[in-house]
Symmetry: C2
């Protein structure tokens, strides 16, 4: 089935707002097997909205519109649709009660409240529990027009909780498209490709794809199956890939590496201290982004200067002089020093050259040593990371968190 | 003048790519006084591109298309345009030489190189120094169609370096729209509004607007004037606003607070050390994002646990017990301790409750104390910050950097 999306909003045409709603809607529709053949963006103008709606109705049977449902004078999407379809706006008592409840205690003009509670007579209202403007589903003959609010949070909730189930049954969707992302650190795209090339080639449903992302590789598994089978079918391929790549896969979908590591630290009841040089606090920042991080994060030292490395971490000045601040020996001493100073269970030490200056022939920009210290001793890894200063900081923090994950 | 934008790319219709190109182009056009009346997105389909182009030509005289100029089979924008306008594609020798030069050493099929060097016979080529596909300007009667590559970096460079000057002269633009953003920390929107309400009301060109952004306020000044006057006109209003708000304005346009602070530290030749608790390393991370930060950043301590505060910063356990870890006394001791340990010029101390748990009636989530220590002693500020954990961390880091800026 084909559908079109119409985004309403003068801010988009002025370039002051990037239209992320259309992408979100398009992705959801794709997963339902509906292909979007066009996205049109028009301003808050009666004529332009009318024309865009009319043209879309001439091309497809399903149209999803976002924006222009608010309480102000220039929110006119509902009014235009009502005129175009010859379907008068009437006051929806349930919507009115809902909007009044949300506005309780605020001084909102009665007119604005009433305006938002009007819906076309033959339309179905989609409740908006996180905002005020209800959504609208209007079915006329073969045509279905759906209006959603332009506020992303409200639009997304309606799409996920109300519209998706509605479309699933209305379209009589026999097959759903579903995706799973596996996130890999420590291997390049060619290496991942080599390990799973036969799985990738052997099948087109689910289809397996690779995407290189800031120093790591994401493997996508996308399949189209009946709703009751789709989860299992994707799981089977995921299991096969996990057999090949094992612990190189650190997480799935929306997971973050700091989230995974934090969960493992909590589960094992271990406390950590972090000594950073080139990452400048990023590893500690990421570990403390997780609520409850004081359970496992003890403290961090950002030893930028050599003197700081010696004062706080007990890294001997002679060692820095002999091996250089960026060396495996110094990384290990940092990890050990930060662990011992407060007797935490684990210590991380990171030293490297984030650039753009400070590199040399033997020690280029992007050279990073990461060490982990535990009661069993110290381990250390050497990396050569590409990119600008912020890329290198990010990748080094990713490398450090992944080392920790593998240990746990 | 009215114009339309067409974005070509199946990825956008699948929702796997957010169309940021259209917003960028729209903003540039707005600044030229051209109003975009519609943005249409279509896939890499002959019929859909043809239809969208034809419809747009029926509505407006200027169309800007991005995407579909690459070397692969499904890049067909140029081919469709050539057919629609009856303007055959011919090999452009200059383009060919340019593309060959960029591909030197790569093994690219000759066919792909030639395809990218073809342009409509009566079109003007826009060089692409950061990519391979040239852009195209095709003028026929009243109509102007511009094709740009879909790769954002290439598109943006062409737009700024080549197309903007071309459109400026082609449109005979008598008036340019230009904007300036002033960034304010330490005042809410109502306070800023109160101070400059008369300036905002007094004039509509330049127009002055306010925008609340994650704990700070941005003031936009937007004016439409002849090219030779626009800078001066905006400057006059900026000066008036600066008179009212003084040092509350920390930066303009794309500036970051860490960038401003780094510049000031370098200029004054001062070194700093940072003691963080609730910000968890974010202040150090931001300060070390700036290339050359080792000139002014000495080290950081993230004293999450009370023990770490005492070991590394010399904050007495008795003080923490008496006043609580989140108190002005502890913040000052942290700032002083971190400064003295390595005898840096300045020390920052930050302690607070980032949440979501850990708050109490007297010390709610969002309570943050920030102290700055120098040879003149310690100063401390108290904040109550709203938002989730990451918001509070961000705002506290902003507060700390701003305190530093004001001192400098």
């Amino acid at each position: 089935m084909k559908a079109e999306i119409i985004s309403v909003g003068t801010e988009i045409l002025l370039g002051s707002l990037v239209d992320t709603n259309a992408a979100f809607i398009a992705e959801k529709m794709a997963s339902l097997g509906v292909s979007i053949s066009r996205i049109s963006t028009v301003g808050d103008s009666w004529q332009d909205i009318y024309q865009a709606l009319e043209e879309s109705l001439g091309r497809v049977d399903l149209i999803i519109v976002s924006g222009g449902l608010g309480p102000t004078e220039d929110d006119i999407t509902k009014e235009v649709l009502s005129r175009l379809m010859g379907d008068n706006l009437v006051l929806d008592e349930a919507a009115l009660a809902e909007i009044r409840r949300r506005f309780r205690g605020h001084r909102i003009p009665e007119k604005a409240i009433q305006k938002q509670a009007m819906i076309p007579a033959s339309a179905k209202r989609i409740p908006n529990p996180v905002g005020t403007a209800p959504g609208i589903i209007l079915e006329k003959g073969d045509k279905t027009i759906i209006l959603l609010p332009g506020v992303p949070r409200e639009m997304k909730r309606m799409m996920e909780k109300e519209l998706y189930p509605y479309l699933l049954s209305r379209l009589g969707t026999k097959e759903l498209i579903s995706s799973r992302i596996l996130k890999v650190w420590g291997m390049g795209e060619p290496q991942v490709n080599q390990r799973i090339a036969d799985i990738m080639l052997r099948q087109s449903n689910p289809r397996v794809g690779l995407l290189a992302k800031r120093g790591e590789v994401h493997i996508s598994i996308t399949g189209k199956f009946p709703p009751e089978l789709v989860g299992e079918k994707i799981k089977t391929v995921e299991d096969k890939i996990r057999e090949r790549l094992g612990s190189s896969i650190w997480g799935v979908d929306e997971e973050t590496l700091e989230g995974v590591v934090s969960r493992l630290l909590k589960k094992r009841g271990l406390r950590i201290a972090v000594a950073e040089s080139c990452t400048g606090g990023l590893v500690s920042h990421r570990l403390t982004n997780i609520p409850g991080s004081s359970d496992y994060f003890s403290y961090g030292i950002i030893g930028y200067s050599n003197q700081a490395k010696s004062t706080f971490l007990g890294v001997p000045a002679s060692l820095v002089k002999k091996k250089g601040a960026v060396s495996s020996q110094v990384a290990k001493k940092m990890a050990q020093g930060v662990r011992k100073a407060e007797r935490t269970d684990l210590g991380l030490g990171i030293t490297g050259i984030a650039g753009p200056s400070g590199g040399s022939r033997n020690k280029p920009v992007g050279l990073v040593y990461i060490a982990l210290s535990s009661s069993e001793g110290e381990i250390c890894q050497r990396f050569i990371l590409a990119g600008d200063r912020e890329d290198i900081k990010w990748k080094a923090s990713q490398g450090a968190l992944d080392m920790l994950r593998r240990y746990l």
